[in-house]
């Protein structure tokens, strides 16, 4: 077999075909290489704008979530309610769970927030400020759950006008300053009429923060 024939033969089935080669390393590497070089099909991107149907959905049915570091926005719809922890799902099958508006878990983001015990965070927001504690857990590179304990100070920063997809709104901005021996972050919340209408909350070191708008 000459070299040209060999190259052709290999290129045709370079990534393998047939059921036993589906999703193998070769095809995935080729997909990854295609995305990186821009030669392959574009990966599915979250919907950047709201369809009218979503924007007109009943209040409380849709969350608009932005992963700030990835500059990705997606509308999330409700899929489950577990004793007050509401789980929402994106079109790209990422889920996020919130308890009284406080993020308690993500799935499908890579470096996920595995679980949170937020003790008193929402109470402090409702009370106009106060102290709360959190225990957050993550999955380490070695597949072990690591938990981080934090003490958080919630303080009011006063009124602020924010612009959401439904227009400008006046809200009271709060900052939650969380410190622990191994983790520190600051979350922000915007409250209006006792409702949490926007928040910016920490997910993990690998994902960064999300901004959540309650529509």
């Amino acid at each position: 077999m000459n070299n040209v024939a060999k190259a052709l033969c290999l290129a045709l089935i370079a990534t393998g075909c047939g059921p036993l080669y589906e999703g193998n390393l070769g095809t995935r590497l080729a997909e990854t290489a295609g995305q990186v070089t821009g030669l392959g099909p574009e990966p599915e991107k979250p919907v950047p704008t709201l369809s009218p149907a979503l924007a007109n959905a009943a209040p409380g049915d849709v969350l608009l979530v932005k992963i700030i570091a990835r500059n990705a926005v997606a509308p999330l719809t409700k899929v489950a309610d577990n004793n007050g922890a509401v789980t929402w799902i994106s079109p790209g099958k990422v889920t996020m769970s919130f308890e009284d508006g406080i993020l308690v878990g993500t799935r499908g983001l890579g470096d996920d927030l595995m679980g949170v015990d937020p003790d008193g965070v929402r109470d402090a927001l409702n009370a106009g400020g106060g102290t709360a504690t959190r225990r957050q857990s993550f999955l380490s590179s070695e597949d072990q759950i690591v938990t981080r304990d934090l003490t958080c100070e919630v303080t009011s920063l006063g009124p602020e006008e924010i612009v959401t997809v439904t227009g400008p709104r006046m809200a009271t901005k709060f900052e939650e300053d969380c410190k622990g021996p191994a983790l520190e972050f600051k979350n922000s919340y915007w409250m209006a009429g006792g409702d949490l209408i926007r928040s910016r909350q920490a997910v993990s070191a690998g994902v960064g923060f999300i901004q959540v708008d309650q529509l």
């Binding site: 899929v79 577990n82 878990g105 597949d143 759950i145 938990t147 520190e184 070191a205 960064g208």
Partner: protein, 700 residues
Amino acid sequence: MQGKRFTASSCAIAALLLGQSAIAQDLSYNLYGVPGLIDTPNARSAPDAEIAATISAFSLQQRGSFSFQLLPRLSGTFRYTGISEELGPGTDGTFDRSFDIRYQLVRETDIWPDIAIGLQDFLGTGDLSAEYIVATKRLTPQIDVTAGLGWGRLGTRNGFDNPLGALDPWFDDRPARGRAEFEEGGTPTGQYFRGDMAVFGGVTYEYSDKLTFKAEYSSDAYVRETDNGTLDNRTPLNFGLNYTWRPGLDLQAAVLHGSELAAGATLTLNPRIRQPVSGDEIAPPPVRIRPEDAQAALSWGTSEDQLRDRLKEEGIILVGHDVRADTVARVRYTNTQFRSEAQAMGRVARILSAELPAAVETFVLEPMQAGIPLQSTTLQRSDLETFENRATGAAEIAARSTTEDAGSVDGLTIVPNTEPKFLWGLGPYANLIVFNGDAPIQLDYGLDLRLQYAFAPNLEVKGLIRQSLRDIPLADETEAENDLQNVRTDGRFYGRDGHPVIQSLTLAHYGRPGENLYSRVSLGYLEQQHGGVSTELLWKPTDSRFALGAELNYTAQRDFEQLFGFQDYDVVSGHLSGYYSFANGFHTQVDVGRYLAGDWGATFALDREFDNGWRVGAYFTLTDVPFDEFGEGSFDKGIRITVPHDFFLGNASRDKVTTNLQSLRRDGGARLEVDGRLYDIVRDGHTAGRFGDTFGRFWR
């Protein structure tokens, strides 16, 4: 305490790394592929578990090195060196394998320097052999100074009498080893810290995060190379630089002896640090809470198809189910998607919470692989509902569930298998054959046709037909003159005609003959060189770190054309195997028995295992074949690395790739390479095994 900041927009999450050394160290690899200056070592240690592959070259030597930081202070290096013009200008070159080991005695503090002791090329022919004790201290944030004492090669310039000679005159002289003496290699040189010693040292200057300048005084005088005229040795001073192209890739350049240019590159990777990856797993379906007014009357039978389809979406095949007294559901399934059986079980449990009638409170989950159940875990549905989003959710489920040996098939309603019985695939293969004979790197590549037919989940035929596209034959390995039956030394004859070959064609049956017992029978063309029958029995309780196995094979040597014929050599081989998984991540295996050449002996293996699926280890085999009869290398030994695909791809995948860095494969200590041995399959599902080790993925 150091902080590492991850900036996101105007905010930052500071993940504070605990327990890090207060002193930031400048670590770079030398031309030998160990932490060091240019051609000499320093006392720095790589971060725990770091793997470093270095290639370096100057006109006289080309080195490929693989280093692994086995423990925070202990590291090992395997090196393959090409030596040009070994006996003088115009003479032939040679290749040499070498092993190093080094230990960091003292960690740097404000007062103390790092101090390390090392043995370089301590087995075998010892062409590069040296021993050293070296200290490195950070003088300023940018300047490291190193001073060391060397023996062997590192004691050949301005050497002085060994003070250890005062203890014992044995240390005074380092005997020169004659060629005949080390022809086979592979054995300890017995020269450690003997003969003259000399001083070496140097300075590194960290100009920036990326660039470090280095200068050293080397006590390796390259005596043989200088004497035979292949090296113009003008000065003991070497100068060089290390440039970090990107994290994980360093480039080196240097001027050696005032006359030679050298260059090198080091790739580093740490199994303990997951790289950011492009792919993500799709989120699991959430737990569905049972409504308070639930009616328990819903019949199970109506939703079997839906349950099967929901599981299938997660890459999980429903095998059987049993709902007893309407409150307990037993479900048997096969996970084809997730490396971690704990993660697969978490998904099965959540799907069951959505699909099963509210009255079902207890889930009994039985993961299967190779058609046999590996264990049985009992979970309470209310615990799933309570701990889904809690910080310690995985630990709570682990504490509240029980795992034991799988139950009997009795009572299970077996779900009709809708998976295709026949599977095929045509794809490329590539084998990198490294350090073989006198060729450091060879590539064998071509096409594989894979065929698979399942008579039952535990009874499968698998075949692999291979067409190599390689023109040139693999390098000849010189055959030792001995009375042993040829086994691996005949490897070069297999498939050399260039037509398609049957790499393997096997009928395999898996079974559960008793409690904690697992069995395998494989029949057919089991590997490239042998075919016949292989039987195996394994005892492994789910919570036992210890396992015991027995394997008995009767095989004949296959024809070189690798089709259906056999040669007239047949052999009964087999082993008793003991396996033990230590709590600290180390794993050991001892196999005692008879090998393919009819030789008797034992294989010892030690691996460091990471719960994310990485595995780095080494093994050696000693049999009743004498070292001089075995041939070059003296005995079979090697290093092996297993890399899980999901570590790099991010997507859920059970695939992994294992690479062996092996010394010469010869006839002694050759074990049958049958596919699908029980231990790895079984251990994946056990609490004292990867199921338990990866339980943190339950809620993933």
